[in-house]
Amino acid sequence: MIEAGKTSATATAARLPAARVGIGGPVGSGKTALVERLIPALAARGVDLAVITNDLVTAEDAERIRRSGLIDPARVSAVEAGACPHTVIREDPTLNIEAADELERRFPGVELILLESGGDNLASTFSRDLTDFWMFVIDVGGGGDIPRKRGPGVVRCDLLVINKTDLAPHVGVDLELMHAQALAVRDGRPVLLTNCRSGEGIDAVVAMLESQVLFRA
């Protein structure tokens, strides 16, 4: 017979695997900017963190985050896709899985690994083998009609982030309408608005990670 409490109390006390959270989205939508906002916000809440970035043939984004001074550079790993970015997050995520396993080995207390995919198109999605939860970042500058195009990234992600809200008046986008249409194509699943320039909306993203992924509240 299984002893009382074995599943909850004991297992929770033992080391749990780190949660793995993917961040995908089109080129330049603000994925790295979001990571740079999430790092200090999560650190302030005591979350033990590591980051993986994917770039085509460089470690550009990883270097940018390492230099930011926001996080111990050793906690930032780079994976070069070498091909279309989606190949290493969906078709064959082995390289990223190895990078995440390696971070967990090196930093045994790590609770959360953020994984930024290389900028891709609206069809890119993450494999469930790689991430427990994934967000898709689009931006206002890409056009208010992006959600209506029902890209699999937009529709299937666990959280859709519409970034660069500050640009809406400059590019003629009706933010409220864009938000409503995003919720509609997603059957009401979460959509959050951010301005990674000012940090507006970041708290809501963090709150969602805390409840759905970190199980803190």
Binding site: I2, A4, A11, A19, R128, D132, F133, V213
Partner: protein
């Protein structure tokens, strides 16, 4: 929030049969409905049919199956069901029929909710099996099926 990690068994494990049966009699088996398209997840947070907020994570090499046990102790068991909760709404014709319907549902350990003059059965299994148990009440009009969804 109940924090659960890992799969502890399966509802069909013969070694657990007696323990699960005892829990079932006390109405202490909770079902956690997981949409089939979400079955590949290794981490999720869902509310069980009895209202328990379950925060679940699995080992990287574990695979969720229908019937997987996520929690088992003397108080309760939590079992994974692929799909969504089906509801069967019944209306008794009068007080006598209501008493009979309630008596049956209780004896059969059905999960139920009460809704203005109706009994809503939370279905776990083929509807035909449930209908068969109420065949008499349904055929003589004592109980009417209002909805199944």
């Amino acid at each position: 929030m109940l924090r659960l990690h890992g799969i502890v068994g399966h509802e069909t494990d013969t070694s657990l049969r007696a323990q699960l049966h005892a829990l079932e009699h006390r109405g202490a088996i909770e079902l956690l409905f997981v949409p089939p398209e979400e079955a590949g997840r290794k981490r999720f947070r869902l509310i069980s049919d009895r209202g328990t907020d379950c925060a679940v994570s699995l080992g990287r090499d574990e695979e969720l199956r229908d019937g997987a046990l996520l929690h088992l102790d003397r108080e309760r068991a939590i079992v994974v069901r692929f799909g969504r909760q089906r509801l069967w709404k019944l209306r008794p014709a009068d007080e006598t029929a209501a008493l009979k319907l309630g008596w049956h549902a209780g004896n059969l350990h059905w999960r139920v909710r009460f809704e203005a003059g109706c009994l809503v059965v939370l279905i776990d299994g083929p509807l035909a099996d449930y209908r068969a148990r109420l065949a008499d009440l349904l055929s003589d009009g004592s109980v009417t099926e209002i909805a199944y969804d």
